[in-house]
Amino acid sequence: MSRAAALLSVAAALLFGAPAWGADPLEVRIGYLTRAEEPRIPQTFLEPVSEDEGVQGARLAIADNNTTGRFLNQRFDLVEVTVPEDGRVEDAVRDLAGQGIRLLVADLKEDALLAAAAAPEAGDMLIFNTRAPDDDLRNERCRANLLHVTPSRRMQADALAQYLASRKWMNWLLVVGRTPQDAAYADAIRAAAKRYRAKIVEEKRWTFEDANRRVDTGHVTVQSEILTFTQGTEHDVLVVADEADGFGEYLLYQTWLPRPVVGTHGLVPTAWSRVHEQWGATQIHSRFERQAGRWMRPRDYTAWMAVRAVGEAATRTKSADPAALAAFVRGPDFALPAFKGQGLTFRDWDGQLRQPVLLAGPRVLVSVSPQPGYLHQFSELDTLGDDRPESRCRNR
């Protein structure tokens, strides 16, 4: 958003009864960086195609921060920047730095995120990764100026594995899509199987061409295709790795054996889902739906958490100095309440936010991991993802 537009939106917010501040409020400015892309087309027709995933969560958190800021004479502004599809994120980082932005929410995929974090101007920034779940970002490719709000693939896989192990569903058929992200998801599933002693009895690659979701009598093909595709070794569950939502939805009820589907479809480990209504989540759903006119998605939720983390730091330190806020967020006194029943903190070894992971069914919440009985000498949340002794992050 340009400066003029930003001022306009502040003026509009004031007109519509947003909080009024006293003279010269402390001003905290947070950058929001994303890149233009083709909208994600969900396989299901029940979910809308949305072009504002992520930023709506950040805007809601700005509103929440300002409601609190009204009592402390602090004001929060979001400076939104969308880089064109072929544009350079480094340039956007330079522009934002020029405007004095030192706290940045990055709604970017892995490579763009690393390019942004490596920009010279990003050296003294604190960047919140609200989108990229890649495990190497928390290990070999970790960076000191990154905090990962979104759970890693490994955390998601561990959350799922704990639940399957608690049910003693230990034999898994793994179906992997064609993208590198699907391969990475499968890696995380294999690591979780090893950690929780489950057995991947067979792996299958999904090699069919992705089809348009709207095809007359399309189910006829799906019905015969998947029946034959899923024949093979006896298993308890089918684990699917299809992050792009190309085919996973088709697996449910179409399999050779009557087995549940879990992973990216069916029973899904995730940071957020509309089916979650516990620990006060009802309230954020209704605030979000009023504002955005649609359900809150995981990217909206992680962006909300990142902007709220800054808000929480400003409330506690009573400061608007980005360095002081960043230090507080990284420090031992920080804990973010985020509708998961406990305060969430960052791991000092890789910058990952510790968090319970939801296990969402298509219609209701099934469970929340860590599962009871998975103990840890420091925090049970550290049974999900890379624990300190396993971390391969050396740059922090």
Binding site: T67, F71, T282, Q283, T315, A335, P337, E380, L381
Partner: protein
């Protein structure tokens, strides 16, 4: 234990039991059940559920009117307050509440209810006689706990995501001060003399004691239970004895009630109760403490003279609030 010692103790207990019985027998306990949309009525003498009252959806906050002839229940999913007639044990009326009411408090004069509207960053002031909302006060994000000073002049509201206790003048409906507390404040409770406000922080895991006149933090009470992870210690319900000596704090999924010396703020002991204990009520003679245990679907009865839990009573699904009538 020697035989004589044991016999003497049993004798003493029997005697105590005999002394307690008449007052406790008269108690009637009312429990709101969030999941089953009912209020359970428990006979304090028999310690049994004697009636179940059907109310609106998602009943949580529950309180008596001034002369205890009526009960008000927040039914959040129906965006209203149900009014139960205590004699007939039926819902006889309803009051407006503003959207999604969770908790409320009756002003000491008995004319108004102050209601926290979780969904709307607002406190609604409901006039009971005219059944009208006569005021709305903008507060922080997700208002929750409500406490009123004994003289009715100051209202304290907590906001769960803003993490503050808002002090509100009940004449002008204006906020006079905001006190920052630990994460996700839930319950606000004035001491009997009106000098202090106790505020529990569910995610922060502490209770803040605030001086009501200066609005300064006087003390922060922390908790530690052997073998219970720190994250599971989630303080919610608070009860203070009228002599100002003792306090009880429900610790949620730690499944414990902390007993605190209210003068030194020292935690004296932890009592094991049912699962995810949210709210508490003292019996009118303050010889018993009743707890609502949201996950185990029961109510624990603590005998405060013997210092232990004497009974668990199954009530409805996800019991939430509890009040007691002599």
């Amino acid at each position: 234990m020697s035989l004589t010692g044991g016999a003497a103790r049993i004798g003493a207990l029997a005697l105590l039991g005999f002394v307690i019985a008449p007052s406790a027998q008269a108690d009637t306990i009312f429990v709101s059940n969030e999941k089953s949309n009912t209020v359970s009525v428990v006979d304090g003498g028999k310690l049994q559920v004697v009636a179940t009252i059907k109310v609106g959806r998602r009943p949580r906050g529950i309180t008596f009117n001034e002369d205890m002839t009526r009960i008000f229940v927040c039914v959040g999913d129906d965006n209203r307050i149900d009014v139960i007639d205590v004699a007939t044990q039926k819902v006889v009326d309803r009051l407006p509440s503003g959207p999604d009411p969770e908790l409320f408090v009756l002003d000491p004069q008995g004319h108004r209810l102050y209601v926290a509207n979780e969904d709307d960053n607002m406190v609604s002031v409901v006039d009971i006689a005219s059944k009208k909302i006569i005021g709305e006060i903008q507060v922080g994000v997700e208002p929750e706990g409500m406490g009123v000073s004994p003289d009715g002049k100051i209202l304290v509201n907590t906001s769960e995501t803003t993490n503050m206790a808002h002090f509100i003048d009940t004449d002008s409906h204006k906020i006079i001060d905001n006190v920052l507390v630990d994460a996700r404040p839930r319950v606000a409770q004035f001491t009997g003399d009106g000098r202090f406000v106790w505020v529990s922080s569910e995610v922060g895991g502490t209770v803040s004691v605030i001086d009501a006149a200066s609005r300064k933090l006087v003390h922060k009470i922390g908790f530690a239970v052997q073998g219970v992870p720190r994250e599971s210690i989630q303080p919610v319900g608070i009860q203070l004895t009228s002599d100002g000596q003792r306090a009880f704090v429900a610790l949620g999924p730690a499944n414990r009630v902390a007993e605190i010396d209210a003068r030194t703020y020292e935690v004296k002991r932890y009592h094991l109760v049912g699962q995810r204990v949210w709210n508490l009520a003292l019996s009118p003679d303050e010889k018993r403490l009743y707890t609502t245990n949201g996950v185990s679907n029961d109510m624990s009865v603590m005998d405060l003279e013997r210092g232990r839990v004497v009974k668990s009573i199954s009530v409805g699904g996800a019991p939430w609030g509890v009040i007691v009538k002599p």
